[in-house]
Amino acid sequence: MENRLRILRAERAWSQQDLAERLEVSRQSVNAIETGKYDPSLPLAFRIAELFDRSIEEIFVSPSRRSSKAI
């Protein structure tokens, strides 16, 4: 799933490892989410959103909205 995780992380000058530690997940998890290879569960998506003080929709791009925009 497309997302703004890398941008939000860069704004805070956090490495993937820094973010992983804050989320209590592995660095590989952060990398997989950032690159869109893995879609986090809803609880993890909420944790990410709360950490950045944003809504989930501000971080993750809805696949259906993305495809409707393309149409």
Binding site: Q28, S29, K37, Y38
Partner: protein, 135 residues
């Protein structure tokens, strides 16, 4: 695979179970070879080396329950699915070849070896499809 606390526990369990397997296997082979096993306990002694292997399957199940990192857990689930698909496919193909007398008969426990090999195949697929995150 990543070294999460659950993974470390899983590793220790597998190490101990592998050690137990080696001891049981050597003891059972020695016992049967030298006719030291009384008839009454032949079945339990023959099953003895299988128990730690069953334990490893249990350890994999425990790992999937205990792993807190959902992405890492998904990697293991993918590996297990690859292992199961690989071993069952191989057993099915071999079974038909065996039925038509085209290959020799293989002992049942070879399916376990194929399954563990499939686990490795699954690891490679994870690495290939997910790159850095798949290790």
């Amino acid at each position: 695979m990543l070294k999460t606390p659950a993974w470390k526990r899983y590793n220790w369990r597998v190490i101990w179970l592998s050690l137990l397997y080696a001891i049981f296997l050597i003891a059972a082979v020695y016992g049967f070879k030298h006719q030291l096993v009384p008839t009454a306990v032949k079945y339990p002694v023959a099953i003895l080396p299988a128990l730690p292997i069953v334990g490893i399957f249990f350890a994999i199940g425990r790992y999937l329950v205990e792993e807190q990192d959902e992405y890492v857990r998904m990697l293991m689930v993918r590996q297990v699915l690859w292992a199961s698909g690989f071993a069952l496919s191989l057993a099915t193909i071999w079974g038909f070849l065996d039925s038509f007398d085209l290959v020799g008969h293989a002992d049942g426990y070879y399916i376990v070896i194929a399954w563990f090999f499939g686990l490795g195949v699954g690891g490679l697929v994870n690495k290939y499809t997910l790159g850095d995150g798949g290790c």
